[in-house]
Amino acid sequence: MDLVEFFTSNFGEVLFKTRQHFVLVAVSSGIATAIGVPMGIAVVKWKTLRGPILGLANVLQTIPSLALFGFLIPLPFIGGIGARTAIVALIVYGLLPIVRNTYTGITGVDPAVKDAAVGMGMTSSQLLWLVELPLALPIMVAGIRIATVIGVGVATIAALIGAGGLGDFIFRGVSMVDNTVILAGAIPAALMALTADGALHLVEKRLDWRGRGRA
């Protein structure tokens, strides 16, 4: 059976799996951002947290994804079989690039600019909200972009623990030794990764002051 034929005769299922996949990635990237950005800010503001948090995020990143899914299954509340466990694992993978880029973005702000802002009478929270975060935003978004693209790939493995998504086609194709079915999962996943990458790259550029005010 060739690919075009597979897509036309299974259009509904492809759409359904793609949507499942998208929800897994969108929800986990959203939550990873909501956790990772404050963690990144905390790491900048409290130096003692820097080693432990960045270290932990680094270690979590090194756990093979398959093993991480395995570890999570027996855990109460966050574990088990299904999408919830997959989302927890995807958040764990997304954290490092987001925390690290938030930290790098804020600490990379020109000290002379910060000095001027404080010299004009900004409080430390005004410095954060009016100067540091706006200037760090493009780098923070780059971190979210990396986390999301990684998430699209890792989410294919989540099919193994019953989370659904495009991984279902890939694993089905592997067990049937049928490349067409593998591609039915792999191609939409690759397109999703490219689209997310391109869209977030645009956001990143729009937020960068270097491009502002150009006609």
Binding site: A112, V113, A116, M120, G121, M122, L130
Partner: protein, 252 residues
């Protein structure tokens, strides 16, 4: 919070045996001087002489490790640092503008921090840009990176003046400009500070700038005061540090 006002009391800035050390190493001091209202005092010295440290002692970014620094009769350590700084204009080298904000937003920043209404801020920003010779219509919506060095420095001066602070601190504001632009801005700045009756503490390594702008010149070398006097006294001084600077200024 009560509005702090620096105007009306003399002297505006007083250093009494003030020095600043870090890890036992003296960066500047001991300094003993007073700046009276409307006066321009220029600190002249090489980089590392303690000029910038002296400015940071005035706006409370650092506090003296010995002696006291007072602004408007009150020690800087007794001020709320944020309130103190909002009442002092601060002009620094070109990177001091916030790169992600337009000229209008940069100039209106301190009034905004002080809680002015948008209409008051807009009116004041327009007035300030005209004061420094920039057309509000042409420049207001531009970003700092779309301006020349001289234009950026004009915006920096407009921003420092926006909340009408009686005291201005200037940290080599014209250092990065080409000589012709620098001379023009120095003259305009002098005229402006005089007309608006501002008290100014200015630091520079440029002897000609110091002599042009200063009512009084204080020479710093490795954190220590080597000379204090008027530009006329400076030109005829036999202090070795001054002699060396005068010699250099002819060859540069």
């Amino acid at each position: 919070m009560s509005e702090e006002n620096l105007a009306g009391v003399e002297p505006v800035v007083t250093f009494a045996g003030a020095s600043y050390s870090i890890n036992g190493r003296l960066l500047v001091g001991p300094l003993d001087f007073a700046v009276s209202r409307g006066e321009t005092v220029v600190f002249l010295g090489e980089s590392g002489s303690g000029k910038t440290t002296t400015l940071r002692l005035i706006n409370g970014l650092i506090h003296p490790t010995e002696g006291t620094v007072s602004v408007n009769g009150r020690q800087t350590s007794a001020w709320d640092g944020v309130q103190l700084r909002r009442n002092i204009g601060y002009v620094i080298q070109e990177s001091g503008l916030l790169p992600h904000l337009t000229v209008n937003k940069n100039v209106g920043l301190v009034p905004k921090l002080k809680g002015w209404t948008p209409a008051e801020i807009a009116r004041r920003v327009k007035e300030m840009l005209e004061l420094v010779g920039l057309s509000p219509g042409d420049f207001g919506d531009r970003y700092p990176h779309q301006l020349s060095g001289g234009q950026r420095q004009r915006v920096g001066v407009a921003r420092a003046l926006a909340a009408d602070p009686p005291l201005l601190l200037c940290d080599e504001p014209f250092g990065a400009l080409d000589p012709a632009t620098r001379r023009a801005l120095q003259r305009e700045f002098k005229e402006l500070a005089h007309r608006l009756d501002k008290t100014v503490v200015f630091v520079t390594h440029d002897v000609r700038e110091a002599l042009l702008l200063g009512d009084r010149v204080i020479v710093l070398e490795a954190g220590r005061v080597r000379f204090t006097g008027s530009p006329q006294e400076f030109s005829t001084s036999d202090v070795p540090a001054v002699q060396a600077m005068l010699g250099d200024s002819w060859t540069s």
